[in-house]
């Protein structure tokens, strides 16, 4: 309950969070991924993205054989 109340307060205080259509969609977002990202430093987040892109680059060169 405390978290929800804090959440509501944030929306009330911040016009960016007040757009209801986007807000309801925001409730459908996988919050566990966000929470994991927030445990990382900005540098670690960037390094993860860089690794992710490198992996995609490697996979791009793969071929489906069946």
């Amino acid at each position: 309950m405390e978290d929800l109340s804090q959440n509501h307060q944030n929306k009330k205080d911040n016009p960016v969070l007040q757009q209801d259509g986007q807000q309801s969609k925001a409730e459908e977002v996988d919050v566990t991924l966000i929470q994991w990202m927030l445990t990382l430093t900005p540098l670690e987040r960037l390094q993860n993205l860089q690794r992710h892109l490198s992996m995609l680059e490697r996979l791009k060169n793969g071929k489906f054989i069946h």
């Binding site: 978290d3 804090q6 959440n7 944030n10 929306k11 911040n14 960016v16 969070l17 757009q19 986007q22 807000q23 969609k25 925001a26 409730e27 459908e28 977002v29 996988d30 919050v31 991924l33 966000i34 929470q35 994991w36 990202m37 927030l38 990382l40 900005p42 540098l43 987040r45 960037l46 993860n48 993205l49 860089q50 992710h52 892109l53 490198s54 680059e57």
Partner: protein, 164 residues
């Protein structure tokens, strides 16, 4: 040689070497703020003052930048064009790089400055658009790809505020 994958740090290092003033915006800035999204290019709003355009031009030459919008002909950066408000979509040795004169509601480098934070990584200082501003710009632009990412950005902002 132009690279199809992105090496963000190469761009940051070359820009620092040439003392280019810029603001990191878009998807990479979203990632730095903790949003779990993927992006393939680097979006920067550059300072369009004369001295900075000269520095930027030198940096782009070092990165062998050319417009990726024309596949039939190699068009290299032009100083006068970089001084305008348009968007320049380059391919460089460090991957795709988008230089944006203005974004959203006609926001240029100066207009965005108040909504930025400095990220220090070793000797590098990277000026990054803050998450609130990023959300406002995406709400203003309203393209489908911007709308798709908005719920994640908004939720990330909420979670960050909870953690404070």
């Amino acid at each position: 040689m132009a690279n199809s994958s992105t090496d963000f740090f190469q761009v940051f290092e070359v820009f620092a070497k040439h003392k280019v003033k810029y603001i990191l915006v878009g998807g990479v800035s979203a990632v730095l703020h903790g949003a779990p999204v993927t992006t393939f290019d680097l979006d920067l709003v550059h300072n369009r003052a004369e001295e900075n355009i000269e520095n930027l031009f030198q940096a782009l030459q070092e990165l062998h930048a050319f417009y990726r919008t024309r596949r039939d002909i190699r068009i290299e950066p032009v100083k006068n064009a970089l001084a305008g408000p348009g968007h320049h979509l380059f391919l460089t040795d460090a991957g795709p790089l988008d230089l944006l004169g203005v974004i959203g509601d006609n926001l240029d480098y100066q207009g965005l400055l108040q909504d930025t934070e400095i990220l220090q990584v070793g000797d590098l200082e990277i000026r990054v658009q803050n998450l609130e501003s990023l959300i406002r710009v995406k709400q203003f632009i309203g393209r489908e790809k911007d709308k798709a990412i908005l719920p994640i950005l908004i939720k990330t902002l909420e979670e960050k505020k909870k953690n404070k």
